[in-house]
Symmetry: D4
Amino acid sequence: MVSGVEESLTALLQQLRGTGFTDLGFARVDTDREARQGAPEAIMAEGKTPEEIEAIARVLLDEGAGSVLVTRADADARAALRRAAPEAEEHERARLAWVARSVPESRGLVTIVSGGTGDGPVVHEARVRAQLLGTEVVVHEDAGVAGLHRLAPAVEDLRRADCVIVVAGWDAALASVVGGLVAAPVIGVPASTGYGAAFGGVSALLSMLTSCAAGVAVVNIDDGFGAGTIAARIARAAAS
Amino acid sequence: MVSGVEESLTALLQQLRGTGFTDLGFARVDTDREARQGAPEAIMAEGKTPEEIEAIARVLLDEGAGSVLVTRADADARAALRRAAPEAEEHERARLAWVARSVPESRGLVTIVSGGTGDGPVVHEARVRAQLLGTEVVVHEDAGVAGLHRLAPAVEDLRRADCVIVVAGWDAALASVVGGLVAAPVIGVPASTGYGAAFGGVSALLSMLTSCAAGVAVVNIDDGFGAGTIAARIARAAAS
Amino acid sequence: MVSGVEESLTALLQQLRGTGFTDLGFARVDTDREARQGAPEAIMAEGKTPEEIEAIARVLLDEGAGSVLVTRADADARAALRRAAPEAEEHERARLAWVARSVPESRGLVTIVSGGTGDGPVVHEARVRAQLLGTEVVVHEDAGVAGLHRLAPAVEDLRRADCVIVVAGWDAALASVVGGLVAAPVIGVPASTGYGAAFGGVSALLSMLTSCAAGVAVVNIDDGFGAGTIAARIARAAAS
Amino acid sequence: MVSGVEESLTALLQQLRGTGFTDLGFARVDTDREARQGAPEAIMAEGKTPEEIEAIARVLLDEGAGSVLVTRADADARAALRRAAPEAEEHERARLAWVARSVPESRGLVTIVSGGTGDGPVVHEARVRAQLLGTEVVVHEDAGVAGLHRLAPAVEDLRRADCVIVVAGWDAALASVVGGLVAAPVIGVPASTGYGAAFGGVSALLSMLTSCAAGVAVVNIDDGFGAGTIAARIARAAAS
Amino acid sequence: MVSGVEESLTALLQQLRGTGFTDLGFARVDTDREARQGAPEAIMAEGKTPEEIEAIARVLLDEGAGSVLVTRADADARAALRRAAPEAEEHERARLAWVARSVPESRGLVTIVSGGTGDGPVVHEARVRAQLLGTEVVVHEDAGVAGLHRLAPAVEDLRRADCVIVVAGWDAALASVVGGLVAAPVIGVPASTGYGAAFGGVSALLSMLTSCAAGVAVVNIDDGFGAGTIAARIARAAAS
Amino acid sequence: MVSGVEESLTALLQQLRGTGFTDLGFARVDTDREARQGAPEAIMAEGKTPEEIEAIARVLLDEGAGSVLVTRADADARAALRRAAPEAEEHERARLAWVARSVPESRGLVTIVSGGTGDGPVVHEARVRAQLLGTEVVVHEDAGVAGLHRLAPAVEDLRRADCVIVVAGWDAALASVVGGLVAAPVIGVPASTGYGAAFGGVSALLSMLTSCAAGVAVVNIDDGFGAGTIAARIARAAAS
Amino acid sequence: MVSGVEESLTALLQQLRGTGFTDLGFARVDTDREARQGAPEAIMAEGKTPEEIEAIARVLLDEGAGSVLVTRADADARAALRRAAPEAEEHERARLAWVARSVPESRGLVTIVSGGTGDGPVVHEARVRAQLLGTEVVVHEDAGVAGLHRLAPAVEDLRRADCVIVVAGWDAALASVVGGLVAAPVIGVPASTGYGAAFGGVSALLSMLTSCAAGVAVVNIDDGFGAGTIAARIARAAAS
Amino acid sequence: MVSGVEESLTALLQQLRGTGFTDLGFARVDTDREARQGAPEAIMAEGKTPEEIEAIARVLLDEGAGSVLVTRADADARAALRRAAPEAEEHERARLAWVARSVPESRGLVTIVSGGTGDGPVVHEARVRAQLLGTEVVVHEDAGVAGLHRLAPAVEDLRRADCVIVVAGWDAALASVVGGLVAAPVIGVPASTGYGAAFGGVSALLSMLTSCAAGVAVVNIDDGFGAGTIAARIARAAAS
């Protein structure tokens, strides 16, 4: 018996050989992603040497990426991006470095609220990512439910948002409270803030997954990058 | 010292007394939710008696809900809805009963793909919820990555969707494959299908949360209802 | 070397032989507990035969217990108490049976709020226990944060309570919201309501333990009995 | 920017539309798998109705599958296969039903050893699967290390095997002992036998994964099917 | 349909804008909490820079906080408080710094017992917090049940306490023993002392949650702060 | 290179072929165990058919086992033993059946204490096993630490024991209290009694493993059989 | 009602005030333990300052302890003991320091076998503890089951032992193999050696708890101290 | 009764005394393993001192090992091997050092694909191990499914492989995609790359264990060594 699927796949794969990525040996940089999905590949610095980061960044920029974002980047990793693109900006506490060459025209609004001061790095990772994808972002930090009145200044921005991001550690009760107030989609980011039974974000993760407010979806613990990506997609589509 | 926040809250709460819900003693039915968030409160049957379900459904219908959906409903629970609304429909395998009195005009497209036949109940819970909120839904079942060619017929519907829902148990690899192909937001629903190390959906949940494809957000295990809710919001906003 | 501690303990234990309990072979009924701690021993029915339950109840009543409470009691277990005390009352859904012979004069107020209808059994276990210990109890069910306005009718009773009990499953966000509003001690009871990542009450438990509102302490999952016990102690002391 | 990858994929997928599987609505039966991977798709009965099982089996047989195996099959599921293929055989305790129409000529030897009598169902699932793929199988049950001498009769068959399968629950120490004796690849199947800290096979799973004997790889808990599949592949290749 | 709840909430929130907190951008300091709940907001140092800590402390003091407590504070964090309030005191091992400007007149007695020497930091966090809230505190350290006679000197203070705090790591058996002796409410603080299966306090946490002595409620692992807060509330109310 | 170890092992194993066990196909009954380890093989009924149990029992009796014990045995399993040995005794609640043909002369004393009435089945499994191995056993049930005085009648038997077994569920605090009182070795058996955070015996297991009293070792959850085995060995050796 | 138990306990506790321990404020040193249980209190260094360690050691020595053992002791902690007792010995890799002033005459034999070289620190903690309690100890390291012949030189010492200790990380299969060979009680110590799914000793712990060889009891992960304590008790009693 | 098994075992073990290993006190080096199993013992550096590593390496080389591999080796550990064998090679990032004296003639092909750049260390551990056992190895890194086209260049090498190794962290979806394409056995290595819910490789481990593609078996997290061992065995047998 001959597998027809195998024949077709083989034909395709031969045709694709070398298409849409650059092979650096230690990495196959997906230079097609921005065209395919509207968002360029980003570089997670952890587990990569500065030299590898610099090389990947150069490939992305040479292939015309609109922007390059390096996440979870210590000082060495951020310097690596600056070698590839001297105009690169950075946010030390959020461990970010990025360069924006041709960001899409801004469309849609993402409102980010966080539970506490310690959630700052995740908030700003989400913010920068969403901005680089072409969205307006408003941020309200430290609005946790232990003092509900601190959420008051955020309400107008929550109401007019095309997508809301809630960043919260500990019990992440903020996700349910916000989820019960707004009609826009809510993306929850469990943060690893908290000690003891917070278990590095597990408590917040479970809390958000079981939120009694429908309309909340969740990304990985501390994954500001992922939240910024999906929120920007939602907001840009809603505003077009 | 006098707490100004307390005074304001107290004033508000006195004003709200009895507003926006009907108190049945065992339940406070949120009759304001549809106006506030665009989606009526639903009834999760587990943990409620048929009498309670019937009473809540009657309140919602009397207060003008556009639709009433009962989830996780066994035969008795589904009969309870039919007593409140004889025209109610049901889906036995997905344990659903619902009545649609004034569903919003359909807007936007949600495409649902699932990994295997056993994910059917979750697929249909998501489908009915999204349809009741006023969205078109297309379903492709059993398209798991063990045979990637089975995903082929879904590609066109994935490309034109305003929001994609992926339902998958086991290793839920389908979420990453789909997430790497499309530009629309992807909502993952980990399913409790699978045995052994599938751990009742935990393996699928972790897999989706750590998907290497950005742009994926996740709801609770088997929570077709939650996925349908957020997907409909996203799709309707994108298509307006 | 001779152990002085051992000698003293031995003396004491010899003196205690048979004091303060009745030995039924399969059980040593602590008939001293009410005198020692102000609350009589209760009977958890699970893992005991109806005959054992009846025998323990008879001992407690014969020894002058003010009340006897049987928890987690199916129909057979409840019948067993009625055989020992024909005037016994029961609550089927909360799986309780009890007989009150000389409840202390009521002192203090305990307010119980719950997140959803499904938390009812736990709510009523806490209520009955606190009442039997001599406390006034007010109950507000189904006041979860997905619709904050449903909490409004409870606010006055929360403010005037000597102790508050919050019963909630799923993400248990209600504990933090209530904990941020009141000045009285708050006892959280995580409920096993919810599916998927609710993990039988674990999500609610972690949530309550990491509540961002200080002033919240937590008992075991579904442990209405324990919450009623400590709340009654707090409320009675505060009101004396 | 146009995505070249997307264009190629789209072309392929259009070409594949309907190729290599039969669409039953609730299932897309991978009729190409045997040609592509040498092993036909099997049917896991759990989560499928008898009608669905029968329909899938008919498609596989109509499309010329060499054999059809239904796993985790209760009496109804096994009857469903007999309706599609009256000559079907079955193994009640292992919850299997199968029909063999053109099994490949037998090549290679797989030796299966198990720790205890309770592992029988998993042993036989592995055995039948490997036999249907065209391998000779020898079985030694109840050879656990609490009495090492019970392993003696298996040694000759372990030594001459092209691949060894070890099925064991509890602490699964058998995997390390066997792994330290033989030169052939060892596939471990953690079994869910055991109570308490056996945690439904988790103890055995961790034990096998951390086996101090190199040369052991592990499949899912109770996954005799997966073990039989990979063992047959290994054994047939080694013997060719 | 118009949402009445939404209108009321919007009105309230507009009214609250800027009420009851000071917005520092990275933090919204809840200056209303002391009036609302009788206990001022505290500052958890982890995840905050010294500059942020200093700024928050200044706001609290400027707004008239009776005391400011910084927990989980390393040397830099403690120095930050001293910059804001030179009279600040500190406890190095408990990683605390605090300033007391107008502590309420002391009322009620909290007795703290701990299982071992290593629980000291948690003991003192609870002690200082309760004292700052206006309660007398007595401490008995290293009274674990492996030598029950070491509990003897604490018994009188346990009996006369309005609330008891038990701090214990490892198996936390002390909570049950104390819980079986006293009639006052018992707050358990699981400590992260212990290795191996102590799992950073999880063993102690589960132990306290399942204490066979009714009348015990539990706070987060190592959460001396939370225990001090609720114990002070209980004790002050009981003694008034 | 030739493996000398392999040659020696092969020689041994050939010599052992069929020695010391009887091969029933589904089971290799270790008829040598009593001679080798002083305790005959027992039969865990779960996962075995009544026919298998009967056959194994017959082999053991035919080969001269001093006693045969069937654990975790439902009514059918117990009947199976009676078919093999009509004089068999049984304990329904502990799910035991056994026949004693030549129990060793009793030597040494094992004292068993349990935390609560629900631990009875585990207590009696340990008792019967230890008695069949030739030890005197004294039992004190329901002596949990919530009422320490209930332990008083057990103290004399604890002091004169050669080995102590503590059976306890929930927080298993009894293990530490007893472990701090006696000089004999203590074997802890965590019981699956308890609900919520008792997690089927996990809380008790962790508690016993981290007991602050040295001199305690632990067996599997509910494993009265294992505790009886090792306790009898210890007690008999101590008393010889 | 007056509690008789309370009166008796109060009397005892008053009588015990200050008996049997020395109160250092941060510690209550149990100077009665050696008389009561035959083994002096030891000092776990983690969580204690060198000054505290020195002070506790001085109390124990002043009160006539036969030996003092400091476990989990870094260089500073070991130096602290030397200040209290200049003749103190130490074992750097096992992080031990000890001083032996009057060790009981040696009685009984404990044989320790370990799975690998990395288990050395735990092996030697068990060895020193057992020797200080007055037992002969023989050690066989690196005898894991991946090469069963390496166990051969240990067999004679295993057979003649009064108690066997097995120290093993990874899958700890050695415990079952040894447990199936010997008639003496076996104490398993799961070691934290191993990576990945070894989970810091959890895999070894579960493995030992579910050992298919009866007659094995288990202590905490890495708890050489606990194993040495109970093994010495068993061996000394058996040899007397 | 005399145990025949015991007598035989004792005879064997006496005969084996000192056979097949060299006893260094802290280690019993299995010098027989290469003859017995075709693969020499390797040295895991973690938990061993450089001196121990050097001594073990010298024994292996003196006894004629074809190669010596040191894994998880920091700079000191790698230097230790160079002292024993100056011609030793090393791979810093993969923490490897090795010396190859007589590697078997190469036979069979192992193809390794990895999900991302960060998996490099595990990839190279597997590669070196397989090469030292006498297999050809081809490597394709960073071919994760988020951009499926990056897998295209690997397809030919996947198809012609005798065994495939997939190294992947995060959700490890690559294992299922590859497993669905090839007919050769697939060995999955879950990598500890990833943060948050990746839980140090647990997510990848569960994902691979529940892979919907049959024919995949899994080794421990990050265990390139184990994967290289079994893959080389499979590939060499298939190619002979």
